[in-house]
């Protein structure tokens, strides 16, 4: 499978962000203008334009790999100071398995198809590959843009390094892994799930948010899965149409069909990938975002639990009349941390809701408009075919 070099900026900007237009603060503008696929690795070109003096240059680009993004995400998550913030979800790993497998199958089945069929199938696969590519670039770009538009996170030192450091980040990444140990992180997470449901909530706002987010998460997870199935079925139909149109064309030697000109079949594939981009990606993204919001709740719950424990410890210390000042200090710190988390958490969750609503609106509108556009195109093409056939 050869490299696919994509000039991404050529692609309509409308398709580029699942989330809202995050690049409205001109002081720090980030985008991924192109990306390169080498074997299994995708190299993103991260381009920054900034008026901030904290950066060395006003306009610069660096190459980054997916693993660099993950490193950045993880360091942010592990930073205590950000415990009260919703850390934007990490972009998922680029997954070219599906089109690659299909390409392989196509190669094996080449002998059974006509040349035309094979060419069309190949084109469709290339389009699918391109779509996966578009999606992964989009999702990496959004991650960075979420950071750049966040008042606190945009100032993070590691974020700056990520954007600016013109050497390979892999050395840093290795160190980070040793420090944080992903395995431990996951264990803690599952413990949190129990915690969050168990802890007694004192604040109405958070009580409501907890209920809402837990329920919403399971629903949106389900919707994402169902939307994916719909898209897959659409793609299957598109593939069927390719086979059908190829066979009809070989029959057309009998002068029976003008279907050579009926490329309406191929539109089905376009519908499938646009639907995928708008609907499925939207749902998928927000599913992850809600997970990130849940993570915030977990952290707060943990802080609350810590605070409650510190209270108990203080009581014990008072009872034993031992180490009282340390216990008091510890309790004070826990309370402070918890309050800080609650305050920033409230802000984050409120703005999160607003962001979500705006994103859904934007994507629903775009999706409806695309569906209408495709359907209108189909109608025109089909009616052209019908006219052609009737006049023969």
């Amino acid at each position: 499978w050869q490299c696919v070099y994509v000039f991404w900026s050529v692609i309509s900007p409308q398709l580029r962000s699942v989330s809202v237009d995050l690049n409205h603060d001109a002081s720090l503008l980030i985008d991924i203008p192109d990306a390169l696929c080498e074997r299994d690795k995708v190299k993103f070109t991260v381009h920054t334009k900034t008026t901030l003096s904290s950066f060395q240059k006003p306009d610069f680009s660096v190459p980054r790999q997916h693993e660099d993004f993950i490193w950045l995400h993880d360091t942010l998550v592990e930073t205590e100071d950000y415990a009260g913030l919703i850390i934007p979800p990490a972009p998922p790993k680029p997954d070219f398995d599906s089109p690659r497998e299909k390409m392989h199958k196509l190669g094996e089945g080449e002998a059974t198809m006509t040349k035309e069929e094979y060419t069309k199938m190949k084109q469709e696969l290339e389009a699918e590959y391109l779509a996966v590519f578009k999606k992964t670039v989009q999702v990496h770009e959004i991650f960075l843009q979420r950071l750049s538009s966040h008042p606190v996170l945009s100032k993070d030192r590691n974020f700056q390094i990520f954007l600016e450091y013109d050497q390979d980040l892999s050395v840093r990444r290795k160190n980070a892994k040793e420090m944080f140990g992903g395995f431990f992180k996951n264990m803690v997470k599952s413990a949190d799930e129990v915690l969050i449901s168990g802890v007694k909530e004192v604040d109405d706002f958070f009580e409501q948010e907890k209920t809402f987010l837990l329920d919403y998460y399971s629903k949106i997870k389900d919707s994402t899965a169902k939307a994916e199935k719909m898209t897959r079925a659409h793609k299957n139909i598109a593939d069927d149409y390719i086979h059908i149109s190829a066979t009809l064309n070989s029959l057309a030697a009998d002068d029976m069909t003008a279907n050579k000109k009926c490329t309406t079949w191929l539109l089905e594939g376009r519908v499938a990938s646009d639907q995928d981009l708008k609907l499925t990606e939207l749902l998928r993204y927000y599913m992850r975002d809600i997970q990130a919001a849940k993570d915030l709740l977990y952290r707060r719950a943990r802080a609350l639990a810590d605070y409650e424990n510190s209270n108990k410890a203080l009581d014990k210390a008072r009872l034993k009349s031992k180490d009282i000042p340390q216990a008091e200090e510890h309790q004070r710190q826990c309370l402070q941390k918890f309050d800080k988390l609650s305050e920033s958490g409230k802000k984050e969750l409120t703005s999160f809701k607003g962001r979500r609503v705006v994103a859904f609106r934007k994507n629903f509108i775009e999706m409806a408009e695309l569906e209408i556009k495709h359907a209108k195109n189909s109608v025109t093409l089909l009616q052209g075919c019908i006219e052609l056939l009737k006049s023969n």
Binding site: F212, D215, Y216, K219, I220, D222, S223, K226, A227, K229, M230, R232, A233, H234, N236, I237, D240, Y241, H243, I244, T247, L248, S250, L251, D254, D255, M256, T257, N259, C262, T264, K353, R356, V357, F360, R361, F364, I365, A368, E369, E371, I372, A375, K376, S378, V379, L382, Q383, C385, I386, L389, K390, N392
Partner: protein
């Protein structure tokens, strides 16, 4: 179950099995009964009952089975246990031999291959433009349990003088259709006419219906069958010769039809069928015809290619139907999921938009279902019909080969007899000589006649096939064009509905604030 055992011979070979059926055909040809006041009689030439004449030539042992296999039906599972005269719920086997219209006087040597008589028929066609429409409707279950069957209403609307009335209806069951086909096949296939094959049997489908399963799949099955029967009849009457066949007319007009009785696989007729089939397979391999006419070779190749393409297309379309049904299911599931998400959403406007989205997707699901039906009934079934039709076409070419073989065989036999005659000249026994000479002379005369007949038969079948093929190709192109236009129009409709739905959703999406 005895019924299923009888189903051994595959359906496609209906007509192959009966290709020598001229001998199997019953004797009503000789009953000389003519139906009073039958308009149909006047239009039909004396050859309408097909090639009876050959039975006068051939001492064919198959004649023995003439009665037993009179109305062969291969539709085992739907029939009552064979030959049971028991309480048959609807159709009773009263048969005025209405199939015989014209006495056959003076036609003892008139053979079915005479070109001129068919020309007559076609000329008569010119006077009566083709205007007939048949519909098959109102499937209704008759009887109970394993003896139950579906009865269909066959309505004919026509202005042709061939028929007694301009609009009439009869009740028929599936085996009646099969019976009609087997009669037509036995009369016309071996002389080169492309007889449209009857719809396929289905044990599973019918058993469900019998058992009384009122679910979607058995309803679909009945609808599929009804539609197939309708197409079958229309194709049959579109054929100018078949339209005028008395069996066809009887099928369409007679309020009661003699039951096409099935035969067990192990009966003499069943065995005969199997033997014939095996013999055919062998013959096909051994006949090496000297094709003097490139047209036939070309056409055969053409049909081979067409067959491959159509089968491929059929497979792709079946896959399309399957995937579209899948899409419909997935869309319905998504719609439900989106509705739940909408309920969970606490932002009012977004919540409403999500519910609207769910509704749109539900409507789209219905669209997908309708489209899948169109995919199937228009496109997929058309292809299936043509794949089966092509088998009939190929069969007709095979018959030509057999006819050629027969001619060649006669010729070789004649040659042998002539050699024998020559040898006789040198024999020593003078008293037996004259007798032997006379015998041989007789045989030679007979064989010369046969050879001439064989040649004529071969020429005739070749001519007929040429005409049939050209008619078939014209019909095919027309058929495909019509159906594809209909199919594309169904796609247009679906897309236009989609536009409506999404345009209705758009303001809802915009209303989110």
């Amino acid at each position: 179950m005895a019924d299923t055992a009888r189903d051994a011979p595959p359906e496609q070979t209906d007509f192959h099995e009966l290709e020598d059926g001229e001998e199997l055909f019953p004797e009503p040809a000789t009953t000389q009964e003519s139906q009073p006041a039958s308009l149909a009689a006047e239009d039909i030439s004396t050859n309408s009952n097909g090639p009876k004449q050959d039975s006068l030539f051939d001492d064919d042992p198959e004649d023995l089975f003439a009665e037993a296999t009179e109305e062969v039906s291969l539709d085992s599972p739907e029939r009552d246990v064979l030959l049971s005269d028991g309480p048959s719920p609807a159709i009773t086997p009263i048969t005025p031999p209405t199939s015989v219209i014209t006495p056959r006087i003076g036609h003892t040597h008139d053979d079915m291959f005479t070109h001129s008589s068919f020309d007559e028929i076609e000329e008569e066609e010119g006077g009566d433009s083709f205007d007939i429409h048949i519909s098959v409707s109102d499937p209704e279950k008759v009887g109970d349990g394993m003896n139950a069957y579906m009865a269909y209403k066959v309505t004919t609307k026509t202005s042709m003088s061939l028929f007694k009335r301009s609009e009439f209806a009869v009740k028929r069951r599936f085996s009646d259709f099969l019976g009609l086909h087997s009669k037509l096949a036995s009369k016309y296939l071996h002389i080169g006419y492309i007889v449209p094959p009857a719809p396929e049997k289905s044990i599973v489908g019918m058993t469900k219906v019998k058992v009384g399963k009122e679910d979607q799949s058995s309803n679909e099955f009945v609808e599929k069958r009804r539609s197939a029967l309708e197409r079958y009849l229309m194709r049959t009457v579109k054929h100018p010769i078949l339209l005028k066949d008395p069996d066809v007319l009887q099928f369409l007009e007679s309020s009661e039809l003699p039951r096409a009785v099935s035969t067990q696989a192990l009966s003499s007729a069943g065995l005969l069928r199997m033997v014939n089939k095996a013999a055919d397979a062998v013959n096909k391999m051994t006949i090496k015809m000297n094709e003097s006419d490139a047209w036939f070779e070309e056409k055969q190749q053409h049909f081979e290619n067409l067959d491959v393409q159509l089968r491929k297309l059929h497979t792709s379309v079946e896959s399309l139907v399957c995937h579209r049904k899948e899409l419909s299911v997935n869309t319905a599931q998504f719609a439900k999921s989106a509705a739940m998400l909408g309920n969970s959403e606490d932002h009012t406007a977004l919540s409403r938009a999500l519910s609207q989205l769910a509704e749109v997707e539900e409507k789209i699901d219905q669209l997908h279902q309708d489209q899948a039906n169109a995919d199937f009934y228009l496109f997929s079934e058309l292809l299936g019909d043509y794949v089966r039709l092509l088998t009939a076409v190929k069969g007709v070419f095979d018959h030509r080969m057999k006819t050629w073989q027969k001619w060649q065989d006669s010729q070789m036999l004649l040659q042998k007899k002539r050699e024998a005659e020559a040898k006789l000249q040198f024999t020593n026994k003078p008293d037996k000589l004259q007798q032997a000479k006379d015998e041989i002379k007789e045989e030679i005369e007979e064989l010369e006649g046969k050879v001439q007949q064989g040649e004529r038969d071969f020429e005739q079948i070749s001519k007929t096939i040429r005409k049939e093929v050209s008619r078939f190709e014209k019909e095919r192109v027309k058929d495909f064009k019509t159906i594809i236009i209909k199919y594309l129009e169904s796609l247009v409709q679906t897309q236009q509905q989609l536009i409506k739905y999404w345009e209705a959703f758009l303001p809802e999406a915009k209303a989110i604030s």
